[in-house]
């Protein structure tokens, strides 16, 4: 068996690679020469004190910064397969956002019915057949663990749902276009512990076929859900490694100071 066994130390397959990424809000540099590798079908947590650039980094992955004037990217974020440089001006953000979805901090469903919230992403992909839409909406709501709670009231307003349900609906909405990568920007900071547990379970299930990046303020959450953890400070990556390594045996002084609550 010795000869044929794959080497245990083989580098994991990558979903995305960040090379020399800097980001500017006008004159202010929010990210400084970030280099990172995101393994495929794994959860990567971005942690760090407020203002360290973790949300800024997350929002680079689907070009949310393009919506506001004066923002500028330098460097590369290569998305595999295809090595598409997400932040290149030559890449159409519409096309790229179909591959990378995002779930925001505050649940923000559209003021439409539950069904229409999920169907929007499908319609954008050109799916208009009613039966196909209905099937896909059901499938997506099932994978967001929401179907049983909403199947009898798909026509009702999304705002009739509880906060936790709304957030799962937003996850379903983001899953509908079948992205390869899903971003979470502090998805549970507005939710109670039970709803938070629900979302964390969901993240755990989704990583079977999705690469996930999650920004969190909650260290326990990072430890619970992530495989890899990246610690950012003042726009720079201080340390990036396996979550267990970061939490049990960080190599940088700053990381252990942050994790033990000495600042931030």
């Amino acid at each position: 068996m010795v000869g044929s066994a794959p080497a245990t130390a083989a580098p994991p397959e990558l979903k995305a690679e960040i090379k020399g990424l800097s980001f500017f809000y006008g004159q202010h540099q929010a990210l400084k020469d970030v280099n990172l590798a995101l393994p495929v079908n794994a959860v990567t947590a971005l942690i760090g004190p407020s203002g360290c650039g973790k949300s800024t980094l997350l929002r680079c992955f689907n070009r949310m910064h393009d919506l506001y004037p004066g923002n500028r990217y330098v460097g590369e974020i290569l998305l595999r397969p295809g090595n598409m440089n997400i932040i290149s001006p030559r890449v159409d953000p519409m096309e790229m956002r179909l591959r990378v979805g995002i779930v925001f901090q505050k649940p923000n469903p559209f003021p439409k019915s539950i069904f229409e919230n999920v169907a929007f992403g499908l319609r954008l992909k050109g799916i208009n057949n009613r039966n196909v839409l209905a099937d896909r909406v059901e499938a997506v709501l099932r994978s967001a663990a929401l179907w049983d709670e909403v199947k009898t009231r798909l026509k009702q307003s999304a705002y009739a749902l509880s906060g936790g349900q709304q957030q799962r609906l937003c996850i379903a909405r983001a899953l509908a276009p079948e992205p390869e990568m899903l971003l979470f920007d502090e998805p549970t900071s507005a939710l109670d512990p039970a709803a938070t547990a629900h979302i964390e379970d969901l993240i755990f299930q989704l990583k079977d076929h999705l690469t996930i990046v999650i920004v969190t303020h909650n260290m326990q959450q990072a430890a619970r859900v992530s495989d890899e953890t990246v610690f950012l400070y003042h726009g720079e990556v201080i340390e990036a490694d396996k979550t267990s390594t970061i939490f049990e045996n960080p190599s940088k002084e700053l990381t252990s100071e942050y994790l033990t609550g000495q600042f931030g």
Binding site: L67, L98, G101, F104, N108, F110, G121, L124, S157, P177
Partner: protein
């Protein structure tokens, strides 16, 4: 302890004083309005009947009516709204969603704000010079409607922009994040969610336009018209015609002014006619607004915040 009681008593007194003051101020407005309406009703209500609504103007007050005036006002509103709403909404959407913030858009914004304050007779002069003399469009319903559309355009633009700004950023970001283009975000989200606010702006614009007299006198609305424009619908294909746009016109406020202007004569009481025409005008405004409010209600019902 006593001090505390006194302090609280004093604050309550202040509260009461402001309350009374507020009610008094509100009443000034309401009482004035009611008095005006009552005065019109006392003078004019008895004059409103089927004959009044279906007769053309006449030299005899008892035979005169407002047919050409209310039809003129109604058709004018149709022209004004069909022009002002699409133009205003498109301009508002462009300024809010597409235009980059630079000196040019800043100038445009300041101009729009100023245009809302330009006296209406200036619009009349513009229309007279440009549409009537330059383009030879004549003193027609079309020209009148275009003039009023210019006049209320800033109201629609400002209302559209306010309605768009009231939509939370998160909703916009969510739609873009799914890979929607700007037009898809506008068509599927921003316009439906702002439709209520746009409808409110349209109501205000309509109320403003229907009462305008000065710009229409300037372009040459007639005070005495004893015929109707061609009907906009017909029984033969293509069932609509646009000849009515090319017709001379009069409008209710102008008819009213014309009657007020005549000497008071108990045997030939045109002043009663004027009051009655005023009531018809108010009723028309209210019913147009009612239609717009129903539409707004329907639009809002589909949006489920």
């Amino acid at each position: 302890m006593i001090d505390t009681h006194r302090l609280i008593a004093r604050r309550k007194r202040q509260d009461l004083i402001f309350n009374v003051l507020g009610i008094a101020c509100t009443l000034v407005g309401i009482v004035t309005l009611v008095a005006l309406l009552a005065d019109l009703a006392v003078n004019g209500l008895g004059r409103i009947d089927w004959q009044f609504l279906t007769s053309f103007p006449s030299r005899k007050a008892a035979n005169a009516g407002v047919l050409s005036a209310w039809v003129g006002s109604l058709l004018m509103m149709v022209v004004t709204i069909t022009l002002a709403v699409p133009l205003g909404v498109a301009a508002g959407v462009y300024l809010e969603e597409y235009a980059r913030k630079n000196w040019l858009t800043t100038i445009i914004e300041i101009n729009i704000a100023n245009l809302a304050g330009v006296p209406s007779i200036i619009y009349g002069l513009l229309a007279l010079g440009l549409l009537v003399y330059q383009f030879h469009l004549g003193q027609t319903l079309l020209v009148g409607g275009v003039t009023l559309a210019f006049l209320v355009l800033p109201i629609v633009i400002v209302a559209t922009r306010e309605a768009l700004r009231a939509i939370p950023t998160g909703i916009r970001e969510a739609a873009y994040a799914l890979g929607a283009t700007r037009w898809q975000v506008i068509k599927d989200h921003l316009l439906p969610y702002s439709a209520g606010g746009i409808a409110t702006g349209t109501i205000i614009a309509m109320s403003r336009a229907i009462g305008e007299t000065a710009p229409l006198v300037t372009i040459g609305a007639l005070a005495f018209i004893a015929f109707l424009p061609d009907a906009p619908v017909q029984s033969q294909f293509p069932f609509v015609n646009f000849k009515w746009l090319d017709s001379p016109f009069t409008i209710l406020p102008l008819q009213m002014f014309n009657w007020v202007d005549r000497p008071n004569n108990p045997d030939n009481d045109f002043h009663r006619n004027a009051a009655a025409a005023g009531l018809v005008l108010i009723l028309m405004t209210l019913s147009l607004n009612a239609v717009a409010i129903v539409i707004r209600y329907r639009l809002r019902k589909r949006i489920k915040w």
